[in-house]
């Protein structure tokens, strides 16, 4: 069982910026699903970008098991971590299969059509239920469908570390559940997944740890299951009162926000 250990770091976009992201030493065992929770601009995306090596704080170290991720060449890093950005600017007219093939580039740099690769791509087409629009090209799909394809491509990259910035956005309810189930099943495959979201219900249902972001400060890692017992950190993070209760019918935990 590998552990992700991050050195403490602080990061500013520009030296003159008021905003600073500060994180303590963190170590998170894998497999696990970690939710990132915080207001807009509190540093969730910045944190994910740092893990994805889009931003490089000075002296930052990120080890997954024995491997120091920050020193890997980019091509090797892509076999360890996959990052889904919040916005994807271009959807080229590739078919869905091609998109998944491209996701295999870190493992299969010549994109050869080997049997094992074809099976993998079939598997992820099935898992993400992409078969209904298999012949279509990415640029002609709806926004939610495009998101689903890109999510499938991130999972098809088969990395031990997966970083998803607001993955539930623009997915319909069945797809949100679908994604939740897939994230849960990744626990059996020894993957460590980070998800940022504003949807507390989804985070509560599918994550087992939560990182709170309070204006750039990260207090530490909290077990998700413990949140209802002590909601003060949650309320501080969201800057509102939160009532946590079990649903009458479904027995699911529900969150109600009060100003």
């Amino acid at each position: 069982m590998a552990t992700l250990s991050l050195s403490p770091f602080s990061f500013r976009y520009r030296p003159s910026d008021a905003f600073q992201l500060e994180a303590p030493r963190l170590s998170i065992p894998s497999p696990s699903v970690v939710g990132l929770l915080g207001l807009n601009g509190s540093g969730k995306s910045t944190f994910l970008k740092i893990l994805a090596r889009r931003l490089e704080p000075e002296g930052f170290s990120c080890r997954l098991g024995e491997e120091e991720l920050t020193e890997l060449p980019l091509s090797a890093f892509a076999r360890h971590a996959a990052y889904l950005p919040q916005h994807i600017p271009f959807f080229p007219p590739y078919t869905i299969e091609e998109t998944l093939y491209h996701a295999r580039y870190p493992h299969n740099p010549r994109l050869q059509e080997e049997k094992g690769e074809i099976q993998k791509i079939r598997h992820y087409m099935d898992t993400f239920q992409l078969n209904p629009f298999r012949g279509k090209v990415l640029s002609n799909l709806s926004g939610g469908q495009q998101k689903a394809v890109m999510l499938a491509s991130i999972f098809a990259q088969e990395t031990p570390l997966i970083l998803l910035d607001e993955p539930f956005n623009s997915l319909d309810i069945p797809h949100q559940w679908e994604l939740g189930e897939i994230i849960q099943s990744s626990l059996q495959q020894n993957q460590l997944i980070f998800i940022s979201s504003h949807n507390l219900e989804l985070l509560f249902q599918y994550t087992d740890r939560v990182l709170f972001f309070q204006e750039g400060k990260v207090p530490g890692v909290y077990p998700t299951a413990k949140i209802p017992e002590n909601p003060s950190t949650l309320e501080e993070t969201l800057q509102c009162k939160v009532i946590i209760e079990k649903g009458q019918v479904t027995k699911k935990t529900r969150f109600t926000y009060l100003p």
Binding site: R54, L74, S75, A82, Y83, I88, F90, P92, Y105
Partner: protein, 330 residues
């Protein structure tokens, strides 16, 4: 049957190229038979003209191929279908170099290179180096700065050229003017050599990076997720295309629209993968310029029309038609 048509489809560009080259070898002010290729062919001048024509056709092919392959790559790189090889400031600075060489009375020949070409190449290269050094400091939005600086350099060079023209003798300036209009004046192997070398180098680099270029179409973030070193790819593509295009500009002057129109036409047929896109850009770009050059030296025969004028007219009309059609389809 399907396989048969696929084969036909892949052969077609080469057949077209061959036909265009054969026609082009025959057309011209002087009619030269194909048997002039034989080493003991008499009369002598037919053999000489044949080979001159051959080198000129080769140069036209290489220049067209380079311009359109670089156009295709840069359009992907900048995610912008309006980018041409000249957008990154090469044409402007090269023209400025040529104009300056002329104004300063810098006239010499060294082997197959004359001062005009040398100065144009030097300026284009300096421009590229300066831009790469400038962009180095702004790694995060490297491309945006690169293209902005390129546009500014083009405008700046344009106005400096106007100034130099204003203060120089209009009759003497004709030399530069003619060169700027673009024409393929390659009559022997040694003037062809730089084009050939730079074509091979860019071809090797681009064919090595066709999969990363495919992946770059999703945008930089996704490409980086897949392990593509985006910054290095961008720098490499810009360096090699700028190098190649500056050689083309130095040898043939400014030949517009080829680098814009050919990749466009190929993409309109539904080809999006860089393997085929780049490959077809070479063949069709070459075809287009060989045909245009042939037309330019026969249409007003015995006077020769600068091919740059012709490509711009043809290219402009084709581009306009494309735009009108795409509006209809919505």
């Amino acid at each position: 049957m399907k396989k048969y048509s696929a084969l036909l489809f892949s052969i077609f560009p080469y057949v077209l190229l061959l036909v265009i080259i054969l026609i082009s070898l025959r057309l011209g002010t002087v009619n030269v038979p194909f048997r002039a290729v034989l080493p003991d062919h008499e009369p002598d001048f037919e053999r000489i003209i044949f080979w001159q024509r051959f080198y000129r056709i080769s140069a036209a092919f290489l220049a067209g191929a380079i311009l359109s392959i670089c156009g295709a790559v840069l359009q992907t790189l900048f995610h912008n279908p309006l980018v041409s090889p000249y957008t990154i400031g090469i044409s402007g600075t090269a023209s400025l170099g040529a104009t300056l060489a002329h104004i300063l009375g810098w006239t010499w020949h060294w082997g197959f290179v004359n001062s005009l070409q040398f100065s144009a190449f030097l300026f284009a290269l300096l421009c590229l180096m300066g831009m790469l050094a400038f962009a180095r400091r702004r790694r995060s939005d490297f491309l945006l700065h690169f293209i902005l600086v390129g546009i500014v350099l083009n405008i700046l060079s344009g106005s400096l050229i106007l100034f130099l023209r204003y203060i120089s003798d209009p009759y003497e300036y004709m030399v530069v003017d003619r060169w700027l209009m673009g024409s393929i004046q390659v009559l022997d192997f040694s003037s062809l050599l730089p084009l050939l070398l730079v074509f091979l180098v860019t071809l090797i680099y681009f064919s090595y990076s066709h999969i990363p270029l495919d992946i770059l179409a999703y945008g930089e973030e996704i490409a980086r997720t897949r392990g593509v070193d985006v910054y290095r790819l961008q720098k490499g593509c810009i360096f090699f295309s700028a190098l190649a295009v500056s050689i083309v500009v130095a040898t043939c002057g400014i030949i517009g629209f080829v680098g814009l129109i050919i990749p466009h036409l190929i993409k309109l047929t539904g080809i999006i993968h860089h393997r085929s896109l780049l490959h077809l850009s070479i063949v069709y770009g070459g075809c287009f310029l060989v045909a245009a050059d042939t037309l330019s030296r026969t249409i007003l025969s015995p006077v020769e029309l600068p091919v740059g004028i012709l490509t711009s007219i043809i290219g402009g009309v084709i581009f306009f038609v494309i735009l009108l059609n795409s509006r209809e389809r919505g």
